[in-house]
């Protein structure tokens, strides 16, 4: 989502973007925060010479190891964000969206965040599931819809947890313990985080925990340009929430308990550290603020303010950044650092359960998932294990999915269907011939009744539109069946032919009517009557042949 403006605004993109409403709204908040953080500290100059490979090579690590620096872009503006968001068409879970008639696309709840989706892309005969960040844990969003992923030809699996060894429950416990420990010892806690997502669950855990941990008097501050909107938006997306939270709305109660934290003044939120916050600020306290990379945003101020005291603690919960790299510019640091990444996305055990449940014919996933992580090469349990083995792809690789499109569905108009006279040729199988016009538009095929036979040409020579339609000849029936030679000969004899001789040929038989100097050549797929200029005889013989064949 965060890259959307780059795609829609800089690549000549002219299409439609489909997204659920919370995705768009929360995405807007996240981008707004980012833009706000960046624009707060405008740079007078921008340096780009260092991107020259010869110079970059000389820079210290990690700069010299950065890849594809030439493609790095400046952050987008709010204008670009708005323009990108205007291209979004909102969709709801299970809604079927036709794409040019070729495929149907459906978003399904992925259980990871408000409005987060997995997608089904299907035609009449093929089904591809695209699984992105999904969660089977019971957190605030609607649970993951697994049933709709069944019967897929291909399941594209992405967005697994970044920390497969850390169990979110344990991490939340760790978060709470360390938070309480610090505050009880008179220290402050800093939680670098995004303004939406896991923070809702953390606030909910703390809501249950603060009274029992004797932290009721400790202020919790949430500082972000979008803090207010994020907290309020979360309360209005009732239809996107888990069942428990949905049912609260009917009581009516706010679905998230952070409303109560705000009401009781335990949680306070501010757009930035300037203004009201500086008046209210009281220590020891707990601060949630961005950006989790520690490179910009209000978090920087708190790192500077609290970094020197060992009483304070910074707790990293977002799994996106290496906490050691994030901390590098602040070293030496007296502050305690706790890393408890909370990533609720699928881990490998959950993936193997999911695959057992959904049973796709093929699994396609990034290469990294098909082998244990490099740092833990012995952990054979930290990779996708499925039969047949998953097809893997690398960055920017184009992959042919392992199926072929063999059939198309064609609709038949009711009046045309009415005119059909099916004939049973085998028990259970009936055939009928259809003469129709195949009408193809937007990848949809429709059989329409053929146009009426053309009127006798009027006196006017002017061409009419209907004349463009190809002429339809009066149709002869189709024949099927085979001709048993002996019975055929008997029938000929009954009808007065004599002196009949049968010759076997490579492909069938030749029946010679010597008297009439006529020859009937019977082969598997054709029958020829060869008689010289005796049309009456030919028609008689033809009718006899037709007796043995079925017409439809």
């Amino acid at each position: 989502m965060m890259a959307l403006p780059y795609i829609t605004e800089h690549t000549g993109f002219t299409g439609t973007v489909y997204a659920t409403e919370p995705t768009m709204q929360i995405g807007r908040l996240l981008m707004e925060e980012l833009v706000n953080f960046i624009e707060r500290v405008p740079k007078a100059q921008s340096a780009s010479l260092w991107k020259n490979k010869d110079i970059q090579r000389l820079l210290p690590s990690p700069l010299k190891d950065a890849v594809e620096v030439s493609t790095w872009r400046r952050c987008y503006t709010m204008q670009e964000v708005n323009s990108a968001l205007s291209k979004i068409q909102l969709v709801g879970y299970s809604q079927k969206i036709e794409l040019f008639g070729a495929v149907q696309v459906t978003p399904l709840s992925s259980g990871y965040a408000l409005g987060s989706s997995n997608w089904i892309i299907q035609s009449h005969y093929e089904k591809v599931s695209y699984v992105s960040g999904s969660s089977l844990l019971t957190t605030h969003p609607q649970p993951m819809d697994q049933a709709s992923l069944k019967n897929s030809d291909v399941l594209v699996l992405t967005g697994l947890t970044q920390i497969p060894t850390a169990n979110p429950d344990g991490m939340v416990g760790e978060f709470c313990s360390n938070l309480a420990l610090t505050v009880r010892n008179g220290g402050n806690v800093l939680v670098p985080c995004y303004p939406s997502g896991v923070i809702y669950d953390l606030l909910e855990c703390l809501y249950q925990y603060i009274d029992s941990a004797g932290l009721s008097n400790i202020p919790f501050y949430f500082i972000s340009p979008v803090a207010n909107s994020s907290l309020e938006f979360s309360q209005i997306f009732a239809e996107w929430l888990c069942h428990n939270k949905q049912s609260k709305v009917y009581l009516p109660e706010p679905p998230f308990p952070h409303a109560e934290l705000i009401q009781t003044n335990k949680l306070k939120h501010y757009p930035s550290i300037h203004g009201d916050f500086s008046n209210d600020f009281r220590q020891p306290c707990v601060v949630f603020t961005g950006h989790p990379s520690l490179r910009f945003g209000d978090v920087v101020h708190f790192m500077e303010l609290w970094g020197k005291s060992s009483l304070n603690t910074v707790i990293f919960t977002e799994p996106d950044f290496s906490y050691l790299e994030a901390l590098a510019p602040y070293q030496p640091l007296a502050m305690k650092c706790i890393y408890c990444p909370i990533d609720t996305r699928l881990n490998f055990i959950q993936v193997s359960k999911l695959l057992k449940e959904v049973q796709p014919l093929h699994v396609v996933c990034p290469e990294q998932y098909t082998q244990p992580p490099p740092a833990q090469s012995h952990r054979m349990d930290l990779m996708i294990d499925c039969q047949p083995p998953a097809m893997s792809y690398r960055r920017a690789e184009v992959l042919a999915l392992p199926f072929k499109r063999r059939y198309e569905k064609i609709e038949i108009m009711p009046e045309l269907a009415d005119s059909l006279v099916p004939m049973e040729i085998k028990p259970g199988i009936s055939l009928a011939t259809v003469s129709a016009v195949l009408h193809t538009k937007d990848n949809k095929h429709v059989l329409q009744p053929p146009p009426r036979p053309t009127q006798p040409p009027s006196s006017k020579k002017r061409k009419r539109v209907s004349e463009d339609v190809p002429d339809c000849k009066v149709l002869k029936p189709l024949l099927s069946g085979s001709i048993p030679v002996e019975q055929f000969v008997q029938t000929l004899e009954k009808h007065g032919f004599s002196d009949i001789k049968v010759e076997d040929t490579a492909k069938g038989h030749i029946v010679l009517l010597q008297e009439a100097e006529t020859l009937i050549q019977i082969e598997e797929d054709s029958t020829h009557i060869i008689c010289d200029n005796d049309e009456t005889l030919r028609v008689r013989l033809r009718d006899l042949v037709l007796r043995f064949l079925q017409k439809f």
Binding site: G173, S177, N185, G186
Partner: protein
Amino acid sequence: MDPECSKLLPALCAVLADPRQLVADDTCLEKLLDWFKTVMETESSLHLLQDHPCLMELLSHVLKTQDVSPRVLSFVLRLVGIFAAQEDCFQYLQQGELLLGLFGETGALSWTAWNMPSVRSGWIQGLCSLAHHPSALHFLADSGAVDTIFALQGDPSLFVASAASQLLVHILALAMQGGASGSPISEAAAWPICAQKIVNHVEESLHSKATPQVTQALNVLTTTFGRCHSPWTGVLWGRLSPPVACLFERDPIPAVHSLMDLLLSVASPQELRTQAFGVLLQPLACILKATTQAPGPPGLLDGTAGSSLTVDALLSSKSACVGLLCQTLAHLEELQMLPQCPCPWPQVPLLGATVTILRLCDGSVDPSSSMGGRLCGTLGGCVRVQRAALDFLGTLSQGTSPLELVLEVFAVLLKTLESPESSPTVLKKAFQATLRWLQNSHKTPNCSDLSPDALLFLGELFPILQKRLCSPCWEVRDSALEFLTHLIRHWGGQADFREALHSSEVPTLARQLLQDPESYVRASAVGTAGQLSSRGLQATSASPENPLAQQGLLMDLMHILSTDSEGFPRRAVLRVFTEWLRDGHADVIRDTEWFVATVLQAVSRDLDWEVRMQGLELAQVFLIQAMGQPSLHCPYTVGLPEATSPRPHPEFLQTLCRLPLFEFAFCALLDCDRPVAQKACDLLLFLRDKTTHCSGPQEAGDSPNSASVEAVLQRWREGEQGQPLGDLEPEAMLAILRSLDLEGLQGKLAKSSDHVEKSPQSLLQDMLATVGILEENEADCY
């Protein structure tokens, strides 16, 4: 049998024989059997049958018609067994063909009710009671019962099957312990037929291909050798050990764990035991092999790694792997504590394997083989295996281990205690194991001090403990506090430990948990705070934000005692207070009288009987400190001069009245909870004993004051306990003390509260009463 019961018996027998009368509650029948058993201990069962013809009528009725409920059928089978345990009665019943009719092939076995497990169980239990004399052995051999018992070993009901095995063991022991001749037989050839039959059966079963049969035979042997060790068991083992040893040659070895149980119960030859031990160690050997790069030093585990079947079992599925490991670890833990424990005990490889299992569970092992990798995946985060391994690790602390392994143990314990993934139950086990290793690491003969390694370990442990004390999960906070209390109890006096503890935040955090929302945690925190304070280790830094630390712990605990809504913390406070009083804690001896008075005042109003009990305990400690130990009521000390029990000072008696300890004890004497009343009674007896010489009874009896006390006591007995005794002189108190029949009360209280309801007469009446209702209903129908 007392005459009252004799009178009720005919009616009861009639009820039992009447199929229309349902005995709804079969515990009545159990109680009835128990009663018959007690009667038979002192009386002749033959006389009993002859004196009460109703009993014989019941038995013959059942034998003839069997139209009673399966419950009654089962009851009758067991009752006859109890009667026939005496040989003369056995003969009597035998003459009436009653025994064969019930236990023979045409008896219970042919009834339709035989389908009911309760009837089969009654049949077995009847025979078990009956088999107590040589005549019974002949009966068993002739009646074909033994074959039926063999069949019942495989009964679908586990209770029946197990009882059948027990019965076989019982019969075997009876036959071998002399049977007719009265002297044990050790020559196999001279064994009675019954015994030969059973032993042959067991031997055949051992050769059987079917695992259940082998298991049954092994269970019979295990029970037999577990019960007695006579010359004949030696002979029996001599005969059966070859087929048992043969079991080890089969692949797979059938009924491995039953086999282990047998070898643990029998003094088997060293060779066989080593072989058995090897089998037990196989899974651990596999684990070691799969995870070590270089072959280690030769150990007992080396020769055992071979069985491919063990490897298959470990790798086949998660549940198989977990089950096998848990069973193995539990067996080894049990084994280490037994005298049959193999010698030499392979401490080092076992410790290595256990540490490896724990590291496989936390994912920190780097396996050298693909099997190791798969084990890593299977065992990762497996709580059951972690718990079993931690239990066994704790047991292994008793052996001597090389330092580097001890350090590894400490490392894996730290990792487990630290890991956010560890579940509360795993943490509890890890705390227990840690405590055992700290106690046993580097035991030096004359020194209970912690070793330098243990101290280093503690340095790393305290930060983890701090975190655990703040856990959002109350079970974790609770077990962390318990662990801390144990640590302080053991090493609280040691300078290094004190220093390490003081430099951490642990004492402050523990103190804060006195206000935990969870009552169990508060109770544990009370214990910890009490222990910290006893050792002079309480949190020193009273921060201004923390008003709690500013006031004394004593006041906090008093506050908990008088206001906490849950019983556990209040009980914990009293335990701490009692300990403080006993040990002369500074805060207590500053003003002991005030202390005891305040505690007793709070306790006397408490709704929790255990708190009131503890209050009496505290009062007793107080009295003992002032008046000396209770004199021993021992017949041998009569002649000795009175111990130096000081005559209590009159002022002390004044104090007791002021406290008011007397009032508290009198009140407790009438407590509706029997243990409290008992304790109060003991306390008052002690007081009376100590004050015998204080003043004459006649003086006190005349005191008008004491009359009013008596009046109050009387009202109390009648249920108005609100009224205080008022200010009383010691003399009045003593007078009351003497006027009470404390011994009589003690006797009454010693009997359980249901002793009246438990009498046989009441049982019979109850049973008849329930059917009495039925009769009334019947009358209504006409």
